[in-house]
Symmetry: C2
Subunit: 348 residues, 2 copies
Amino acid sequence: MASIGIKDVAAAAGVSVATVSRALNGHPSVSAAARERVLAAVETLGYRPNAVARSLRTDQTRTLGLVISDVMNPYFTELARSVEEEARALGYSVIIGNADERPDLQDHHVTTLLDRRIDGLLVSPTDGGSPGMLAAARAGTPMVFVDRWIPGVDVPVVRSDGRAAVRDLVAHLHGLGHRRLAIIAGPAATTTGRERVDAFREALGAYGLPLPDAYIGQGDFQVESGRRVTEGFLDLPEPPDVVFAADNLMALGALDAVRARGLRVPEDIALAAFDDIRWFVHTDPPVTAIAQPTGDLGRAAVRALVDRIEGRTGESVTLPARLVVRRSCGEAALRQPPSPSPVRRSTP
Amino acid sequence: MASIGIKDVAAAAGVSVATVSRALNGHPSVSAAARERVLAAVETLGYRPNAVARSLRTDQTRTLGLVISDVMNPYFTELARSVEEEARALGYSVIIGNADERPDLQDHHVTTLLDRRIDGLLVSPTDGGSPGMLAAARAGTPMVFVDRWIPGVDVPVVRSDGRAAVRDLVAHLHGLGHRRLAIIAGPAATTTGRERVDAFREALGAYGLPLPDAYIGQGDFQVESGRRVTEGFLDLPEPPDVVFAADNLMALGALDAVRARGLRVPEDIALAAFDDIRWFVHTDPPVTAIAQPTGDLGRAAVRALVDRIEGRTGESVTLPARLVVRRSCGEAALRQPPSPSPVRRSTP
DNA sequence: ATCCTCCGTGTAATCGATTCCACAAGGAGG
DNA sequence: CCTCCTTGTGGAATCGATTACACGGAGGAT
């Protein structure tokens, strides 16, 4: 019933628990003979050290916490995956907490993770700083922000800079003849929510284009808000030519809204999104998007965090995003052979 | 530096550590006065119990392990989300391990989770039983299989039965005039990989249709295999009318392959998928799929597992899947108003 | 031959909680 | 007034590892 402990191994190998521990942890002063017998005993007994006990004693869990805003968002899924990969390579496990864009849930996860004494925390904050988050930052737990961050908190940030890509996007749209550009913004409490609007406005400014308030819709990074805001845009006396969604889920909502009116993308209204995901290749039409180097972001964040944990510096990192042109803004991107004369097969 | 421990609370409240522990755990025999002072001390000190120490003593971590085959697959993402939700409601945390369809990685995660002394394990096995998995099952760790399972291992299974839905699908396809039906199968080592082929063959049999070997392509539940198998189908002297992908990612690959040849869905070849995901509504064309009650599955699995952990029975559960008809198999599903005379807006 | 280093090992303290057991105080019942 | 419970409390053992410290013996230097 009770699983095998270090004492059982010690008894089987005919040594003390101290020697077993030393043999298992590669401590130098263990005789070859003793090490041999310990390893043999471990093998035959199928002994596995109790990580809980070890953590209590050593005060380290070799576990990282990752609190993200929304697991169902493919961007964060990919981020989580790369984080876990890099962490594993570095000998750490990852516990993921899904905040679902709710500050209270975010706090719940931060608290739980801290209670479990994780060695470090990776956060993409849902808001401008929930009490639990700020407490964690102050408590001295090694911490790194990824994607989103909280200004004024002294924690390294690993993120991607979309400014250049947004400029490219606006150039692309302008070149296609679009002049009335609208944006579905993310929550003002998030940095990405604000930054993307700023970058968009700035890029518009370079072409002498305005960004009227009516063309800034307030979303919350979820599908439903994309739909709602887009409907608002379509109801305007002078609807925009293009809708730029600040994340992929809101773009999906926008697509819904447009389709529900029997309108078409891009003929009736163009669409672009921040965050490229693989499904955008297959939507009708394929969606032009700004792609973040998600995998690199996740890996860099883990490295920065582990650096901090292990006493090294762990600096902020900013990686560039890039524009991926597809068909949702107009036909300029017709790179495929003009018309491959599709072989119509007979259907019974 | 060292965080606040129960001793500090005891000192601040003027009681012993035993009383603090009792007060915090709702033990009956603590005087109201003592409880009051303890709570006050906890509040002012900002004390949080060390979960590691508690786990060591009580031999329970209030943590569940979830090992899934592929986080990037939206089906599993949704499953993970519902699992975490239900677990949280029941007072448990969840640690997710992503096996990426690799038995060695699956074993790594199972081992790590067991080392951390999780209270129970939820697994959707990648293969027919890797050594670590079988060891875990034998070791007596409470365990429940979800979605996929391993025959011959005495562990409850929470899954959905797609047989009826597959019959509906075949009826739908037959009604549309399709006669040459092919399937992209999942790995034979997984139950879902085998079952879906069996269900398909059986349903075909009811219409007197064969399922020749040439129409069974071996995939691995990943996008790339869907593409490869579909190319094989298209190269056949007599290609199928319909391709049924045994999961959503392989359907995506199939869509790629068809498009790469300049063919169209469903005019040139029809497509259906097992596992419905929200992106299928927006693909070109929207994909007909078999939808599992994913959220219910996740919740039921957690309940079964927690039942086992807490000494109750925890039975197997099978929930029905259902067919969701969209346009990828033909035009029968045109439920929208015949043609909403789209308001063509002028574009500058 | 004596002393001093190392080296390998074991004993016991430690991490921070929970919980068994002993015990004191106070109330009820005889 | 004496016993017997009940109730609240504290001391100390415990969980399973790591690790500081002590110690015995071997080998080298003097």
